[in-house]
């Protein structure tokens, strides 16, 4: 059950800007087990998508250091020819924007069959078609035979997202990476897609990495959560501890800034400042320091480390101790 599917060790992914490399993913370590949903949360620019793209080997010009073990095999800097044997077969990816992830000039059926041809060449054309239609049915498309012959522009956003999911699960991958799978969708459709992911997890026993900025979705879906800020994981814990007992100032600020709706808050908490851009990231000290200026300098660690506050619950930097929100902001 608790078999490690994906193990990331000290992964650093850097991009070149002018003459220098800047780390968008900075020394990240985490694991994903079978039949587990790990959510990665953070604002835009926190490096969560860069992390997902690193795992899939989709960065063409990035410098990657560290290790990504998929079922024990290190896949960092693996040549594309070898990666292609894994991608789409062992690892599936669900992209954020279903319109730009689908080819506008190909019918849906061909786009699903494409991935079957690449990894499952023994199927006859007829079998492939049956399989493609089965997949469309599985993701809850009402008239799969009809949709098979349609083009992406003829489908609604929710339907397109289902097609993307159908492609991602076509070869029953063990690991699914979902990058903001429901951000572009309405709440009722979002619910259906999340239900579908949950069902897939149980059906094919997959491990899922769910990337999102919506803490509501995280609370509904995740088993464990990693919170990312400025390229680093600042807190990682199981979902129950993270929601009820969040420690890091960033996690607490995020939780406080959503309109929970339970009681009428007059004002939502606002995190001061903005996520620093890749070039302006503070490379020393606590990266969140600039956004909580009312906290005393001495509360931060010089070289922030992960601290285990409870079994399996890690927090970066010492500034979580005695952290408080300003009286009014």
């Amino acid at each position: 059950m608790s078999e490690e599917l994906l193990k990331i060790e000290n992964l650093t992914t850097s991009f070149r800007i002018v003459d220098d490399y800047y780390a968008a993913v900075d020394n990240v370590s985490l694991t994903v087990k079978k039949n587990e949903i790990l959510a990665i949360v953070g604002e835009s620019g926190s490096g969560k998508s860069a992390l997902a793209f690193s795992v899939m080997g989709l960065h063409t010009r990035a410098k990657m250091e560290g290790h990504i073990y998929y079922k024990g095999q290190d896949i960092v800097n693996l040549p594309p020819s070898k990666l292609n044997k894994l991608r789409g077969k062992e690892m599936g990816m669900i992209f954020q924007d279903p319109l730009s992830a689908l080819n506008p000039l190909m019918i849906i059926g061909d786009q699903i069959e494409e991935i079957l041809i690449l990894h499952n060449s023994k199927l006859s054309p007829k079998e492939r078609k049956t399989k493609a239609i089965d997949l469309l049915q599985k993701v809850g498309i009402p008239r799969p035979e009809h949709t098979y012959t349609q083009y992406p522009h003829q489908l609604s956003g929710g339907m397109r997202q289902r097609v993307i999911i159908a492609i991602a699960i076509a070869n029953e991958p063990s690991l699914l990476i979902a990058d903001e799978p429901t951000t572009a969708l309405d709440v009722t459709i979002q619910l259906q897609i999340l239900d579908l992911l949950r069902k897939l997890k149980n059906d094919i026993n997959a491990g899922i990495v769910l990337i999102t900025h919506d803490l509501g979705v995280v609370a509904e879906m995740a088993d464990r959560v990693a919170v990312m800020y400025a390229g680093q994981i600042v807190e990682i814990a199981d979902i129950y501890s993270l929601i009820s007992n969040a420690q890091h100032p960033y996690t607490r600020s995020l939780l406080n800034s959503i309109p929970a709706g339970n009681e009428k808050q007059d004002k939502l908490h606002v995190i001061q400042g903005i996520v620093p851009s890749l070039k302006n990231l503070p490379r020393k000290g606590c990266r969140f320091k600039a956004r909580i200026p009312w906290i005393d300098e001495s509360a931060h660690e010089e070289n922030p480390q992960m601290h285990e506050v409870a079994p399996g619950h890690f927090v970066r930097c010492t500034c979580y101790k005695g952290f408080h929100f300003p009286d009014h902001n």
């Binding site: 604002e43 709440v187 979002q190 619910l191 995740a222 800034s257 709706g261």
Partner: protein, 311 residues
């Protein structure tokens, strides 16, 4: 008297087919919508994409042609007359757009962006204009140096505040905010929402707040209208809608809001299943043969629901 009163608003888009472009039917984007907003209140318009909420907002401000109905603003019917009529009234209605990345002209400086409505309606000397722009920037908490910058130099939240500065430049009475925060991160979202509330108090603004996010609607609005396929399915105060939803569609929408408490997960799943079953079973009772909602019937002084013509 209400500041804005919309009566039987219809916005139809014609479908033309065949060799002679014959008018063969209509897409009923907005079909018989009634709403009224009191001065200083926030009215939320909720619905899925394609429900007609944005079209309603755009029809009120004059960006979509109205097929029939009345839009009474301060006692004047905006639906009558051509595109350029009532210009002096229209300055009192402004809009905040969804995407702060595409609603600001990238080739213009912030000064020109914010001054555009002023130039349209008020003849100001360059000094006066600059003074007004600086005042507006101060109001939205942007630094005075920003006037010479271009939109790409700002973050999403800052851009949305530039959009707000432009919207409040003419001291409008009504602001139509079409998904003003859905393109923003949660933390920035909080900032913009707080800010919208502050200026509402300060300038006694009235908002028509269009969104698909019920959490935000609940946080911001006094009254809520729920739309489905161009028609209203339910209307009431925020308490009516969230504590006592009557229409199955509303129930389903509310049940779909993600819950922040993971300990209630199982409970939520069961609850959603029961709502889903109810929705499927009662669908025929709540919608007519075309799948459209029935006309609204009031169930209390503040609350009306689209129930079929029984009882």
């Amino acid at each position: 008297m209400a500041l804005l009163e919309v009566k039987d608003l219809k916005v139809y888009f014609p479908i033309r087919t065949g060799l002679f472009n014959k008018h063969t039917g209509d897409v009923k984007a907005v079909d018989n919508v009634n709403l009224s907003i009191e001065q200083g209140m926030t009215y939320g318009l909720v619905g899925e994409s394609g429900s007609g909420k944005t079209t309603t907002g755009r029809a009120i401000i004059g960006l979509n042609q109205i097929t029939s109905g009345n839009v009474m603003f301060n006692g004047i019917d905006l639906a009558k007359g051509g595109r350029r009529s009532h210009l002096n009234v229209r300055r009192d209605i402004q809009m905040i757009f969804q995407d702060p990345y595409s609603s600001l002209n990238p080739k213009k400086r912030v000064w020109d962006i914010i001054a555009e409505p002023l130039r349209n309606f008020e003849k100001l000397s360059p000094q006066e204009e600059k003074k007004r722009v600086l005042e507006l920037l101060e109001k939205v908490n942007l630094s005075p140096e920003s006037i010479f910058k271009y939109p790409h130099e700002f973050s999403g939240g800052q851009r949305q505040r530039i959009g707000i500065a432009r919207a409040i430049a003419l001291k409008p009475k009504l602001i139509i905010a079409d998904e003003p925060v859905s393109a923003l991160d949660v933390s920035v979202q909080a900032q913009v929402l707080n800010f919208m509330r502050e200026i509402q108090k300060e300038l006694n603004l009235t908002y028509l707040f269009i969104s698909h996010d019920l959490g935000i609607i609940k946080h911001m609005c006094d009254r809520i209208g729920i739309m489905y396929k161009g028609r209203y399915v339910e209307e009431g105060t925020t308490q009516d809608i969230f504590n006592d939803p009557q229409h199955i569609y509303t129930k389903r929408l509310i049940a779909a809001i993600p819950d922040i408490d993971p300990t209630r997960r199982e409970e939520r799943l069961k609850f959603r299943d029961s709502v889903k079953t109810e929705y499927e079973q009662a669908y025929r009772d709540y919608f007519d043969e075309e799948g459209l909602a029935y006309p609204l019937k009031s169930v209390s002084a503040t609350h009306s629901v689209a129930l079929p013509g029984r009882g």
